[in-house]
Symmetry: C2
Subunit: 177 residues, 2 copies
C-alpha cells in the first residue's frame, strides 16, 4: 500500500471514554454501569431514564477527558501506522470545550511521535480530507469522502454498511498486511 | 452562487494578532513596532535580530490570543457569508497549545452564530476539505484542494499566484455579488 493519509478518531477508538462514564457513574450514584461495555449498549438503553440527562452531561465536566485509559492495542497500532502512513488525529473536541487541554496532553503523553501539525480538533467531520477515517460514529463516517472504517464500539454493534474493524489488531492487519 | 463550504482562517484574517505583537513589544522593549503593519513587513525584517527569537515566542505565551481585536469588516463580512454559505473557521491552533480557550472564547463572543460544529483547530491545513479557503499564509493555501483565496496581510504583500482579497469588502463582493 502506498503512503496514505489516515485520520483516526480519539474517543472509543484510542481513548476509553466509556471507562470514564462507568467511573463517574459509580462515584455519582454508587452503582455499576459496566453493562455499557456490552455490544449494542449505549447511554440511552443502559442508564435509567431519570438519570440519563445527568449522565449525558458528564463529558461537559472539567477533566472528563483527562488521562483516559488507552484502548487496548491502540498506542502500538497507531505507532505502526505512523511508520508507513500519514496519521492524523481527528477528534470532535468542539462539542466539549473544557476538553481541549486534556485531549492535547493525552496525545502528547501517549503518542509523542504525532506532530501538532497532525492533530485536528473539530466538530462536523465532513470538513476532513483524508484517504481513510477510522471512527466509531456513523455520523462521522457517512459524510466522509475517503474510505470510511467503522471501529467497533458497544454503541455501534448494529451499524451496517461499513468495513468494520473490531480491534487494533484488525486495524494494523488492514493497513499493513 | 450555490451554497458553498467556505473555510476561513483566524489570525490576520479575522483577528488582529499583529496588534498583539505591537502591544507586547511596547511592553517588553518600550519601543514601537507598528512598522509591522507596512506592506512587505514581517517579524524577520522588522524586529532587530537580537530580539527576534524572543518576539517569535510571544504567541506561545498564555493569553497572547485573548481578546484580539477583530480585523475591520471581518465580523459583519463573516455574518453575511454565513447567511448564504456554510462557513467553517479553520485555525492552526495546535502550534500554540495555550491558545485553545482564548480562540474558542473569541469565536463565541464575536461570531456567536457559528456553531461549534463549524470550528476546526488544526495544524497542517492539507487536512481541510472545503470549496474555498481564505487564509493569509501561502503554506496553507498551496496544499488546498479547493479554491485558495489569499487574504492580504503585510507579510504576504509579495506573494503571487493566488486570487487576492485585500479586505473584507472584497471578500463579501467576491462571494455575494
Amino acid at each position: 500500500m502506498k503512503r496514505k493519509k489516515i485520520a483516526i478518531d480519539m474517543d472509543e477508538v484510542m481513548a476509553d471514554a466509556i471507562g470514564r462514564f462507568i467511573e463517574l457513574y459509580k462515584k455519582e450514584f454508587n452503582e455499576d454501569l459496566s453493562d455499557l461495555r456490552l455490544p449494542g449498549r449505549n447511554l440511552q438503553n443502559t442508564v435509567p431514564p431519570e438519570r440519563l440527562e445527568a449522565v449525558r452531561q458528564f463529558p461537559h465536566r472539567a477533566e472528563f477527558f483527562k488521562d483516559l485509559d488507552p484502548i487496548p492495542g491502540a498506542l502500538e497500532g497507531i505507532h505502526q501506522l505512523h511508520e508507513k502512513h500519514d496519521v492524523y488525529i481527528t477528534t470532535a473536541a468542539m462539542e466539549f470545550e473544557l476538553c481541549f487541554t486534556d485531549k492535547f496532553n493525552w496525545l502528547k503523553k501517549h503518542l509523542p511521535f504525532i506532530s501538532w501539525k497532525n492533530i485536528v480538533f473539530c466538530g462536523d467531520k465532513s470538513i476532513i480530507l483524508a484517504d481513510y477515517l477510522i471512527d466509531d460514529l456513523e455520523r462521522n463516517l457517512k459524510t466522509f469522502t475517503g474510505t470510511p472504517l467503522l471501529f467497533t464500539a458497544p454503541h455501534n454493534a448494529h451499524v451496517e454498511g461499513y468495513t468494520r474493524l473490531n480491534n487494533w489488531q484488525e486495524v494494523t492487519d488492514y493497513f499493513l498486511n
